[in-house]
């Protein structure tokens, strides 16, 4: 029997076994809710299942799956945005520094500010940041996921960090000004 294109691809269920865990972590980081990430993971693999016969043999299936997951997460984001940005609960901290209640509140507020800034990043930058810093993809793989060169993928990670730093600094200044204004207005 001669081997053909379909028989040289791994069985699709092997892809679920091999990459399901890390893709779930990725989606969890993208959508910040286990339930939504669960839905997105199923959606990702069902879309992949339907397109699997059109992949070329020897493809980088990991990058291909991340690409689909990134699209699924983007759709999810847009849907959520239309629904009016429901409040997300905070991830619990690790508690290693055991700060007092006042310090904890301050840190939570700070964390919430960073979270909002991360949410308002362009999709590509947010994806590139998570993929590089937490999912361990190479820049070449990230390029395959967000459809750009490796260099451009690196620039996206850098831009994400830069935007976050600027956004956070600016917000502190603005918040400070607001306080001064409200005091000046006798509020």
């Amino acid at each position: 029997m001669t081997p053909d294109a379909a028989s040289t691809r791994p069985e699709f269920t092997q892809l679920v076994e091999r990459y399901g865990g890390e893709l779930f972590a990725y989606l969890f980081r993208q959508v910040s809710s286990a339930m939504d990430a669960d839905d997105c993971l199923q959606d990702t693999f069902l879309r992949a299942f339907r397109a699997y016969d059109r992949t070329e043999e020897g493809s980088n299936y990991r990058a291909w799956l991340y690409k689909i997951a990134t699209n699924v997460a983007r759709t999810h984001y847009q849907r959520r945005k239309r629904q009016g940005d429901r409040e997300q609960t905070l991830n619990p901290g690790d508690g290693s520094s055991e700060p007092g209640p006042a310090k904890l509140l301050e840190e939570r507020l700070e964390l919430e500010r960073v979270r909002m800034a991360v949410k308002s990043l362009p999709d590509k930058q947010r994806a590139a940041l998570i993929l590089r810093k937490y999912q361990g993809l190479s820049y070449a793989e990230i390029g395959a996921v967000i459809a750009c060169s490796a260099d451009s993928a690196r620039a996206n990670v850098y831009q994400a960090l830069r935007s976050l730093r600027i956004a956070l600094k600016t917000e502190v200044v603005e918040a400070g000004n607001e306080r001064i204004d409200s005091v000046a207005n006798g509020a």
């Binding site: 379909a6 980081r29 016969d53």
Partner: protein, 228 residues
């Protein structure tokens, strides 16, 4: 831009260049680590299990098809479900065939020569005159009850024999429904395998044929089977 942002960004740049995790933790990076905490092992295991189940269910529900080259009819599209042969056309394009399968039910449609090979080999051999019967399970779940009755009765007409529309209507207990029987034959989703070419007009003429090539194909199939 403040000096502190500038120096932190210089650090980001170095970190990116090195592609190593040698970052010095600062407030932003520490906050990101908090925001992007991984899910728990239990959450992960549960999610992967549910996805594996969803994929298994979809694998079971999916239609698998291929396009083959066959004697007598040329390009032949065939699709199988997990129950058996689901659809067969010849003379039409692959895209058209796949699109019609997709429209028929909310299920995945996947080109998979491996899954289809055994059925394809039988049909090819049959049309080449190398085997006498086609022995493939048939999935009639997409049909109406009436279609199932009519086409089920057609399957009982053996190779080399034929039957008229009227006899077929009688055989299913609907002697006055010859016209409806004709329509059911016209919508046969798997010609050749459900041998509607063995149904002839009352006067012994060939009648019609809905498969590609029309009556010419019908005649060729009957000749192949020694009925003409």
């Amino acid at each position: 831009m403040s000096e502190s942002i500038r120096s932190q960004m210089e650090h980001d740049r170095r970190w990116l260049r090195d592609q190593e995790g040698k970052e010095q933790p600062d407030d932003l990076l520490r906050a990101l680590d908090q925001i992007f905490l991984p899910p728990s092992a239990a959450q992960t295991a549960a999610a992967v299990e549910r996805t594996a189940q969803a994929v298994a269910a979809e694998t079971e529900r999916a239609l698998y098809y291929d396009v083959i080259e066959a004697p007598l009819v040329g390009k032949l599209n065939l699709a199988l479900s997990s129950r058996g042969l689901y659809a067969l056309t010849f003379g039409g394009s692959e895209a058209e065939f796949a699109a019609r399968l997709q429209r028929a039910g909310e299920r995945s449609v996947i080109r998979d020569p491996v899954r289809v090979r055994a059925a394809a080999d039988q049909i090819r051999s049959y049309l080449a005159g190398l085997r006498e019967t086609i022995d493939i399970p048939v999935d009639m779940s997409g049909m109406t009850e009436f279609q199932r009755q009519v086409l089920g009765a057609v399957r009982d007409v053996p190779r080399g024999r034929h039957i008229t529309y009227g006899e077929l209507a009688q055989r299913i207990g609907r002697p006055h429904a010859a016209r409806a029987v004709g329509r059911a034959l016209g919508s046969n989703p798997m010609p050749i395998v459900i041998p509607c070419h063995r149904v002839l007009a009352a006067d012994g003429s060939l009648g019609g044929y809905s498969g590609h090539g029309g009556v010419r194909t019908k005649r060729a199939l009957l000749q192949l089977e020694g009925a003409l």
